[in-house]
Each structure stands twice: as C-alpha cells, then as structure tokens.
Symmetry: C3
C-alpha cells in the first residue's frame, strides 16, 4: 500500500467557495485532476477536465460562449457535459470527442466535486458541514490554496490539539490540554476525539470571549468525516454550570471547520472557517476572529501552515523513515485508518491500473 | 519510437542571427549539444563543444586568443577545429585532447550548425530561406531563445492557421479561415498546406496593408521543410484581380519565416521574421510589423508563445495521453511524419546507442 | 564504486565557526545528515539529528529549555544526548524514543562533527588546523555555506594552483606557476604538492606584501589531509635569501586554510581563512586580505566559486563523460585516491546498506 495514491477518488471534495465561482473560467486541481470550473447561466456549477481533447491546451485559457467552453487554441467547443459540439473546419464531429465532466454539488457555501466514478457520485454523501451554512453559526473563513503538504498532515494536526500548547502558546495553547485525558470513538465514516479540561484557567482567547472571571470547564470534541472533513466543537463555560452534562448556556461555543482537499499527493487546498453561536451580530468580532486565524503569516493557522510545510519537506528528505506514534495520535490514527480503507476498497474494485484514456 | 529523441541530428539548424555572432564567446545549446560560438578573424563562424576536454568547464567562460579558445580554468587552448594546442605545465600534448567542432554555414542572415555527423554536413542542404536575405523581401524579425516547448509544437502551430481565428482574433484571425477548404501536398523533404479564401472581408491587419475598399481574395500557402523550417506565403488582393491565377500585382504579399531549432527535448529557439514586397522602403512599417509580432507579451507571436508553453506544461502533466487529430491537422501531421522518418533513418544507421565518448 | 557516496562518514568535518554557535538552535546539513547545533550551558556544543522522533518536524524549529531541545510541534523534549525526556500527555516514555546525537569537538576555532559511527569518533583524529588558532598566525576568514558543487571539486581546485594563472590573472596568477616543476608526495592520510618558482617577478599581491624590489623565490606547498582539509604554505622571499633551504626570515609567509565539508553529494560548506606571520598587528591588512578573498563576488575565492559551480552544472549535464587528467592533476588525484580508500573501507565494513532506522 505504500505506493498507493494517498486519497480515495470516489468522494466529495471541496473545490471552491460558492461565492468564488462566477460565469467565467477558473482552473483548480483536485486529487491530481486538472479541472476548469464555471457557473452556468442557470446558477449550477460545471467542472470539466482542464485539457482540450484535441491538443491538451488547458480549457481554462479559453472562454465561455453561453454555457459552453471554447478552447483558446483551435476553437473546439465543449458543453457543460464535456461533449464536443463544434470542431473547426469540420461538419461532422467525432462522437468520441469529449472531456471529462466531474459531478458537482454546491452545499454549505462550498462547491464540492467528485473526481472518481461519476456513476457513484451520490449527493447524499456530501460531508455534513451544516455549521458553515451561515444561519445558526456565524463566521468568515478562507482558504489556503496549494498548501505544500499532504492533506493528511492537516488532518493529523487537527485531530490532535495538544499541538496548541506548543504551536499556539500565548493564544489558545494551554498546559491543561496535554494533561487532560481524552476519548476516541469511531464509526465506519467518522472518528471522534473528545477531551474535557475541568476547572482550569481559560487561555487568553477564550477568557476574552467568555468575559467572566474564574475558572472554566473547557471542551474539544473533534470529529473527522472520511476522507477529508474535520469539525471541532470547542468552547468554555464557567466551572460547574453543567457544560459537560449538556447545558452550555452559560458558556461560549465555537466550531472550527476544515475541508482539506488533496491537490496533488504533496499539496492540498485547506478550506477553513471558525463559526460561533455567541455575539453573532458582532461583525467586528467576526473579522477579528478571522484575522486571529489567518493574517499575513501572523495568525494561528499561519503558524500551523509553517509547521505543516516544514514537516512535508522533512518527510521528502527522509522517505524511508517511519512515523512513530504517541498516545495523543489515537484520533489521527483512526482518521488515517478510515482513509486507508477507502483507498484499499477502490484498489480492489480497480485491480488494473486504469488507462489514461479511461480517465 | 516513443522514447526516441524528437529531432534528427544530421540536419542544419539555425543557431544565431549572423549579426549576433562577434569575435567573442557565446554559448548556445542546439539539440541538447552545448556549443560555444564565435566569429574568427577571417569572418567565418566557429562552433565548438562548450565543455573543456580536461574538467568540463564551459569554454564559453574562457576567452579568445586570436582564433583560439582559452579555457578559463587551467588555460588549455583549443583551435577552431577543436584540437588542443596548449596544456599548462606540459610540453607534450595528448593527441586525443580535443573538443567537438560542429560544421557551420552562414546563409540567409542566419548561422546554421550541424549537430550530427560532420562527414555528412553538406552545405547544399541548408534550408531554403532566401526570403530572409534582405534583398527582394524586406523585414526585421527576432528570436525566442529557450522557448519552453518542444519545437514540433511550434511547427504544428504554423502548419495550421485556423488557430489565428481563436488565438489572434482582432488582428489576423477570421472565421473564413476555418470555413475554407485547403490542400495538403508533400515531397520527401517538404509538406505544403494551401488555403484560398475567396471574396471575403479582409481582417484588420490586411485591410490596413491593402488600403483599398471591398472584399478580397486571401491566401495562405505554408511550406514546411524538414526538419525545422516553415515559410508562409500570405496576402490578400482585391476580389477578381487574378491573385489565385498568379497575378498578385494588385494585392499585398508577405512571408512569415520560421526556423525552429530544438534546444532540448522540451525547449527550442524560434527564429522568426515577417518579410514583404510592398512599401519596402517604409522603415516605420517595418518596425510596426515587427512590434505587431513580438512586443513585450502583446504581439501575435507572444500570444502563440503563451499557448505553446501552456500546451507543453499540459503534455508534461498528461504523459500518456495521446493527441487526437482533426482534419485541420493534415499539414502538421505530414510535417511530423517527415521528421519521424529522418529520426528513424538515423536510428537505423546507429542501432547502438553511441557512447558518451563517441559524441 | 561509481554510485558510492562521495564522502566517508567516519571523519571529522567542520560544521561551523565556534563563534557562530550560541545558546540557540541552528540547522546545518553535513554529509546529507540534517543536524541541529547549539551550545550548552557548560560551553560544550551539541549536535542532534534535526528531525523529531515523532513526526519528523525539524527540531531547529523548536526551542531550548536549558540544555534540552523542545520540539515546536508537540513538545517532545530531547536532551543533549538525543534521548527523549518528555512526551505530551504520557507519563511513560518509550525508551527507544531518541534522535541521533553526533560527536562534536571544538578545536582550531571550528566546530567539528562526526556524521558516522560514534564509537569510532576519536578526537585525536581532528585534522591538524593549528594555523587557524589565532596565535602565531593571524587572519580572518569566512564560509561559503551551501556552495553548489561536490566538495571534491574544491579540493581539486586547491591542490592545483596552476589555475591561479587563468582564474586569478592580475592578482596572484603568474605564468611561472605553470612553467615550474613540482613534486607530489603522500602518506596514508595526506598528499602534498610542492612547487618552487625561483628567481621570478612576484605577482602583484605578493609584491605588495613583500614591499622590496627585485625578483623573488616563490613557494606553494599544499597539503591535503583526508578527507577534507587543505593547508597551503605560500609566500615569497628575495632571491637567494635561503627560503628554499629553510630561512624565510627575509620573506613573507602566508597559509591558506580550507576545510571543505560535504553538505550533500553536490553541495558543500567551504570554511576558509588566509593567515600570515607578517604584520600580524595590522588589523587593516587583515581586513584587506579578507576582502581580497571574498568580497561580494569580486574576491579571489568568488572567482573560484563561479568556476566551481559552473563545473558542477557541466558535470550534471554530462553524467557519463569521464574527466581527463593532466600532469598538473597529480596532487588532486592523490587526494581523491585517499578519499576513495576511506569510502571503500567503509563500504567493506558495512556491506549491507544500513536501514533508515539504523541511522
């Protein structure tokens, strides 16, 4: 399995924020598939293979004619289903002339694409990301396009928040994170890591949001949904107000949302948001929290990005060295196991390497 | 044949404009052969292997002593035939000490080199490029050194001008190009694509040159000479003035000239010119036409360069994907067939891969 | 042997100037081993593998806690012996959790590391570099970190000073160098090239230092100590004052010192100095001589760096081409032979490629 591709193809992956896709051509690579994205006149998003059938020029260098894509080299035209509808200087069109059309669903403010077998693309399998809908939970996120690391390193990072103590000392890091026990549970599609830190001093970020004196109970309930989404239910409440038992009304609650899409085997697109249920009308707080995460290299996620890219470079330099694991890696290990199962299941279905044309 | 080198070695390739080669050392790579070029005292151009026999330092980092090249590291001296004539601290010179000398011919304002077997370098086989002599036809061109694409992609581009409709819309592009029939003919060394567009509105560039009202007959007669020269006889004349029958006296006639030299398997030097027989004394027109072709990214050929380099990147990313062909590719396919024959014929002569030393 | 690593591992290599290593983390690669260097509280220098046992993050991205290194990702702590002393959220520490600790000796103003088997790291085998101690001989040097060439090309360069005539014409170059005979001798660990140029005009640099009219006797006695140190005893004295017989009191004497450390197979760190016994209290002369060697691309060694890096690029482009040798290469050939013997001897001891974990 070591040489297998590190991602399953039969899955929905976030490819863009909905507001980014307009009636114009944009290129995006997902799971090593080059795609051209655009919004059709009826509002639906189309995703075609970004290489002309004829001579491979990226279609994203061409232009739209209505809902059809015109190649910028010789003017071949492809409709939103990928079928060629015009060839220069020919009346008959080769019926096999087409480019791949990838299934697309727009949901939870993101555009999701399915790089694998279109026949298996079930919209019901889009990951649960409802916290991002902009209704009950409020927040504005962003994207690291082309982050230079294997997407699984981001998942490792999010599934074990002990790193906050070291990478994010001074904001959300706290010794209590490493001192507190945690539970890991899983299903066929999800792995969940839950940690309760009872009766602790809140770290600076949370103390400011709660704005009440005294110690708190803090929680981190991180849920991975295979292959590439992580949702972290996090917050603090004054000690003994019943948060652990289910009453968070005295506390403050946020969710970090991560959809991590493999671009290639060693790069990824990291769509993130941090949403909350407190002070939801405070636009300045929304902006402050956004900047706390990503801010020209100075935000929390910028610190992670530095670490993750350095880790990838180290892996590239030590290709044979195994990873060693600690107890804290239990959540990440389950996440990787679920990914590995998906990849293995695809390998079983397709024991022969598919020909290039079949792609 | 798929892994074969994409260029024949036993051929003349343009390496520089004559006016560029002075009595000083200049490096140039042709067909993956590193060369150092310089003009000797008698006016002849010499081309030597650009790597000292002793320790491989590029000779182009050294200097000239008369017509001999002094290596900049230990002072070995090589004459214009490539023979070592001086070694430091030795009286006897190893008779095998030499670097390759490449046959050179200066003709049609260009310096042509022969990277293959010197014994077969027949000056009569220099491609016919007399339009570039600066006598009957007038124009000033230029070079893209190190264009990042396989030289054959440039040939494909020039042998099928339907791309003008899409890549050069607004200047020389015209729907009539894709609508008009064309003929392809060939000999052992050449392939010719001829297209007549009768009774059409001239595109902006030609309307301006002709400066007469009314529809025109337009022609494009593109001739490839293997392995790397393309000459395009193009122009317009008022409808019915006999251009197709041979009388172009009422029209305007130009020739685009292209000598496309492989630098490596994926890069090339593209020597171009556009010459004309009309208003030949108008230096401002000469300059305007030159700028119309190459102008800091905004010229016609700059548009082609963008497309060609994007196409090469796409090929690199889809190594197993075949090209599909359209009717319009007939001229390019013949050009490639003639190249393939030359390459195959060389492979036959040299069934054993030559040793490095033998090069 | 052609594919063997070009450097022995069981040897002391200069990794830094002593004054550069402070109580803070610094990364350095020696013989393809990534190391993190720091000075402990007791003044000793420690060198650990620069990749955390857990997830490979470079330890140099973390911080010091006393004399221990804290990983910047999950807070694992390693002592100066490389043993893990703290793991997050665990009371028991995996006893196998450690990173490599490399033997270190600080001597002759340099920090030397031993990338091979620690059990064989004998401090008595640190190369003799006493000229660099700053006592009898005075001078200030510098380092080219990450020079883009195989370290053996630098040794070739220093073992044959005929290149001065060509690379350094105008300063220390002189026709006499190539005209004069030389002797090469060797031991199991050293190769020495000695050249006397009797009764010559001194080249500009030496004429200025000597500051006496008339011809001189000039000497160059270059001694290589395997695998990576070169010391060159150089100078001039007025003709017939007995320099060759051992009395240099009428002349001026300098030593160039070079410790050339492989960084990777194709890059190296070049620690250099030029020390002298004349006008030792003249700080301005010290500075002038330093600038004469390295000065923003204009110094003597900058000229060498240009040649050496061009040579490496040429080697990369002509992988199968052998080097040819001249008589002048006798010293360099002996140096390479001694290196080859060390490498071969290591290959014999370890006939099996070591596993990654064993490293």
């Amino acid at each position: 399995m070591t040489d297998a591709t590190p991602f399953p193809l039969n899955a929905w992956y976030a490819a863009a924020w909905g507001h980014e896709v307009r009636h114009e051509l944009a290129s995006r690579t997902v799971c090593s598939r080059d795609m051209v994205l655009y919004r059709r006149g009826d509002g639906q998003v189309a995703a075609l293979e970004d290489a002309c059938w004829h001579r491979l020029l990226p279609l994203s260098l061409g232009w739209l004619d209505g809902d059809q894509v015109v190649c910028g080299y010789h003017g071949l035209v492809f409709n939103a289903a990928g079928r060629c509808t015009h060839m220069p200087a020919q009346k008959t069109i080769n019926p096999s002339a087409c480019v791949r059309a990838f299934p697309v669903v727009e949901r939870h403010r993101l555009v999701w694409v399915w790089p694998g077998d279109p026949a298996r693309a079930d919209p019901d399998r889009v990951p649960d990301f409802h916290w991002n809908d902009g209704t009950d939970w409020v927040g504005e996120g962003g994207t690291y396009y082309g982050l230079k690391c294997d997407y699984r390193l981001v998942i490792d990072n999010l599934m074990d928040l002990t790193h906050e103590t070291y990478v994010h000392a001074g904001s959300i890091g706290h010794e209590a994170i490493t001192d507190s026990p945690f539970d890991v549970t899983h299903t066929d599609k999800t792995a969940t890591m839950a940690r309760w830190m009872l009766n602790i001093e809140p770290p600076p970020f949370w103390a400011k949001q709660l704005d009440k004196p005294g110690p708190v109970d803090r929680w981190q309930i991180i849920r991975f949904e295979a292959p590439s989404v992580v949702v972290g239910d996090v917050g603090v409440a004054p000690v003994g107000t019943g948060a652990r038992e289910g009453d968070r009304s005295q506390g403050v609650n946020g969710c970090f949302l991560a959809a991590i899409t493999p671009e290639t085997e060693k790069t990824c697109h990291y769509f993130w948001n941090f949403v909350r249920t407190f002070r939801t009308h405070d636009a300045r707080l929304t902006r402050d929290i956004q900047l706390a995460h990503v801010n020209d290299g100075k935000g929390l996620y910028d610190q992670d990005a530095t670490v993750l890219q350095a880790q990838q470079r180290a892996i590239d330099r030590h290709p044979r060295m195994p990873f060693y694991n600690l107890n804290i890696d239990a959540g990440a290990l389950w996440a990787r196991r679920l990914i590995d199962r998906m990849v293995a299941s695809e390998a079983k279905r397709a024991p022969q390497p598919p020909s290039a044309a079949a792609e």
